[in-house]
């Protein structure tokens, strides 16, 4: 039965309210990043518009302006402050580090996962479900348990505090979901296509590379985005496996000092970190929605 006009409007209103509720924390966070401290810590109530926005937090974290200079611009007495000192809140290097690792691990994950997913989709062999379960079970181990063995392993392999080391670890964690996701996309491509290609004389490898793979481009994009997001946001292993390389989540955690928590810089860096991921996920949204049944509806 066709919903009435009233029912449709009601649905619209509810939908907008629900989404607005989910957007609120992010909006609040971004708002806080342009507030001066007095507006963040106002005890009489939340401040929505009653403040003068300040770009200072972004200037410090993204443009490398030193805090000291900001302090002096505010007319402070510079006697207690160092001029020209290093700005440890400058986060540009962290953004670059995170990007390198995220892109790197995405590429490696996709490579390994597409090969495995294609095979699992096309070939039947004994123990296939168990193998898949084994892959999935890699996610069961709490990250904290992986830290020490991997630290020692990396020391022996010379991978400590390297981009490659962290890329490999992130790949490891991303693989289970990537394989499952890609398999469901491969499953969507009818086997007949493979068979037709091979009858025409193509090898299995050629079939995969030239025929089937291009057809799952959307799925690969979706998987790529999920991998990117996970790597971009991973905290624990990045913390323990690196010293000089400091990914964004680790960098943010250093803004908690022994005398105060630097909410201004935390919110600014946090907001900046969200932007690239959000753009990516928007681009692949459609494919994500399609592929996330993860093959469970195929019988």
């Amino acid at each position: 039965m066709e919903p009435t006009f009233f029912q449709k409007r009601l649905r619209d209103v509810v939908a907008v309210i629900v989404v607005a509720i989910f957007m609120f924390p992010i909006a609040w966070w971004a708002l806080s990043s342009i507030k001066p401290y007095s507006a963040i810590f106002d005890r009489s109530g939340p401040v929505y518009v009653d403040f003068t926005p300040t770009p200072d937090n972004y200037r410090v974290t993204l443009l490398g302006v030193s805090r000291v200079q900001i302090g002096m611009e505010q007319g402070g007495d510079a006697a207690g402050v160092i001029k020209g000192g290093a700005n440890s809140y400058d986060s540009r290097q962290s953004l670059a580090d995170s990007a390198i690792i995220a892109v790197g691990s995405t590429i490696v994950t996709l490579f390994l996962a597409t090969l495995a997913a294609y095979c699992l989709s096309r070939m039947q062999f004994v123990g296939q479900q168990s193998f898949l379960f084994w892959i999935l079970s890699q996610r069961f181990m709490p990250p904290i348990a992986m830290v020490i063995p991997i630290v020692f392993m990396f020391r022996d392999l010379g991978l400590r505090d390297t981009y490659l080391g962290l890329i490999l670890v992130h790949t490891l964690i991303n693989l289970p979901l990537a394989v499952l996701l890609l398999k469901s996309f491969f499953d969507d491509v009818p086997r007949e296509i493979d068979e037709a290609a091979m009858i025409d004389g193509a090898t299995r490898a050629q079939t995969f590379y030239k025929i089937v793979l291009p057809m799952v481009k959307g799925g690969m994009a979706a998987a790529a985005v999920l991998c990117f997001i996970f790597s971009w946001t991973e905290f624990l292993l990045s913390l323990f496996l690196t010293t000089e390389i400091r990914t964004v989540p680790v960098k943010i955690s250093t803004f908690v000092t022994s005398t105060a928590t630097e909410w201004g810089y935390i919110t600014a860096l946090g907001t900046s970190a969200i932007v690239p991921s959000f753009i990516f996920i928007l681009l692949v949204q459609r494919h994500l929605v399609r592929g996330l049944t993860l093959g469970s509806l195929k019988d």
Binding site: V151, E244, T254, T259
Partner: protein, 510 residues
């Protein structure tokens, strides 16, 4: 006059001559005057002329902030030449000395020696985790460790005694380093373990009383002389100012965090109790211990409700935002009160903490080198790692950052860093800053007195990091938030005693 006086006067006269003849820069002249015990007020210093224009800033401006000991830097450049290009690493908490050192190093140390220094600044529990990981595998990732005094026993075998190293490596020994200049109570309380000096004292957050003079004046409340009076004053203040949203005090009572354990020791030692008795059994649940905990429960009741989720940074923020009238806590917080955007600029004063009631337990009656006193100290050292692959370069940095000049400047810049060296307390640059404003040093008298007279130190034993982070503050947290023990202080302390005694026996330490 005595020979010594004569030398001093000759020294002064020579320095004056050199300065007039422009053989000495003004900075070096002032430094020499300071060494000779001659202080200059800003006005007088200004009269000396010279120096660059400061663009209207008052007092010691950025030029003084950049004051560099030319002799030391020249020595460093000479000795450091073979190590140019090395990179040394250490990880540290974001305390003012570390932050300041991090800001100065590129322009001064690295410029002079070519040795790069990479500092990883992270919250304290991460520093512990990384150091633990590093020594377990002897990884040598870090050339230097920043070690909290409560970890000294755990890491003593992983570090090199700096005095021995200094004596054994004469070609790397910085002239004029002056070991005796370091405050002896600090060296003993922070850096010594089992007769070995494990590092050089680097920072000394220590408990003092900080209070809002304006509120005390407003309600005509007298300053408390001991802890009993202190509690009464806190309760009075809460009554009086609660309507304005101001509580008597603010605690750092976060469940399961080391900060709660620190607050607890202040309450415990302040009432004549101790953590261990001389048989190395837990003594925190005896009569004095229970009194102490009850005192602390009252303090928490008179703090803003979120106090049980705060560590020291939340507590500091609460005081700076004007949410509490006084606290016995880290002196490091004090300069933050005078920051330009602080709501309470100029309103806080500092004094040593009120006296213990009825008195302190003698250190001889405690186990594991525990020294009870109300002024809890949380100092740290900077220590040279046994596993470092760049010991010489790291050693040069260590001496630079602990040198007289750098330590004095660190005390004034960035604010809050209490000096480790006796000379820093009397350095004219430090004395100049004893006014209201960012980087103030007007709390240093209280700190120095506390260091010399009522500094309390935690026990030194290998599992102390575990007990003081994972066990004691978790059980205390259960009590303070009502999750367990129904408000019964004795029951909570008895439970802690069982855990502690069990772990100590298990580790073979008794």
């Amino acid at each position: 006059m005595s020979l010594k006086d004569h030398d001093k006067k000759t020294f002064i006269v020579d320095a004056c001559n050199d300065f007039t003849a422009k053989r000495l820069t003004k900075r070096d002249f002032m430094r020499r005057m300071a060494m000779a015990g001659v202080g200059f007020s800003a006005f007088n210093a200004g009269l000396l002329g010279g120096g660059r224009k400061r663009g209207g800033l008052l007092g010691l401006g950025p030029d003084e902030a950049q004051a560099q000991d030319a002799d030391m830097l020249k020595w460093l450049a000479d000795v450091g030449k073979p190590y140019a290009g090395t990179k040394i690493r250490y990880t540290s908490e974001a305390t003012p000395p570390s932050i300041v050192a991090n800001q100065l190093v590129a322009g001064e140390f690295t410029k002079a020696t070519g040795i790069e220094v990479e500092v990883e600044i992270v919250p304290l529990e991460q520093v512990l985790a990384k150091a633990t990981q590093d020594v377990q595998g002897q990884l040598g990732t870090y050339d230097l460790y920043y070690l909290d005094q409560s970890w000294m026993a755990t890491f003593s075998q992983d570090v090199i005694d700096p005095r021995e190293y200094y004596d054994q490596n004469k070609e790397l020994a910085m002239p004029g380093f002056d070991w005796d200049d370091f405050s002896k109570p600090l060296v003993d309380g922070i850096a010594m373990y089992n007769g070995k000096q494990c590092g050089i004292p680097f920072d000394i957050p220590i408990f003092i009383l900080m209070y809002r003079k304006d509120l005390f004046d407003k309600h005509n409340i007298a300053l408390p002389k001991d802890l009993d009076e202190y509690l009464k004053v806190v309760q009075q203040m809460t009554e009086a100012e609660k309507g304005n949203g101001i509580f008597g005090t603010a605690c750092q009572a976060k469940s399961g965090h080391y900060s709660l354990e620190c607050d607890w020791t202040m309450a415990l030692w302040g009432h004549g109790g101790s953590i261990f008795n001389k048989d190395k059994m837990f003594a925190g649940n005896d009569e004095q211990g229970v009194t102490g905990l009850k005192f602390y429960q009252e303090l928490v009741k008179n703090s803003p409700p979120s106090a049980t989720t705060w560590t020291w940074d939340g507590q500091g923020q609460a005081l700076t935002q004007g949410a509490a009238a006084m606290a016995i806590t880290w002196g490091e917080d004090f300069p933050g009160f005078d920051a330009n955007d602080s709501k309470v600029k100029g309103l806080f004063e500092a004094l040593p903490a009120p006296k213990e009631v009825p008195g302190r337990r003698a250190a001889a009656d405690c186990g594991f080198n525990e020294i009870p006193a109300v002024g809890h100290q949380g100092g740290s050292t900077i220590s040279l790692s046994q596993y470092s692959k760049n010991k010489e370069a790291a050693w040069l940095f260590m001496q630079w950052v602990c040198s007289k000049d750098v330590m004095a400047r660190v005390s004034t810049l960035g604010g809050g860093a209490s000096p480790m060296r006796n000379s820093s307390f009397t350095d004219p640059r430090v004395k100049e800053k004893a006014v209201v404003g960012p980087g103030t040093t007007r709390h240093f008298d209280a700190i120095k007195w506390t260091i010399d007279n009522q500094m309390g130190s935690e026990p030194d034993m290998p599992i102390w990091a575990d007990l003081s982070n994972n066990d004691i503050p978790v059980e205390l947290g259960k009590l303070l938030t009502g999750q367990d023990y129904n408000g019964d202080a004795k029951a909570c302390l008895d439970a802690i005693g069982k855990i502690v005694d069990g772990k100590v026996a298990d580790a073979g330490l008794r």
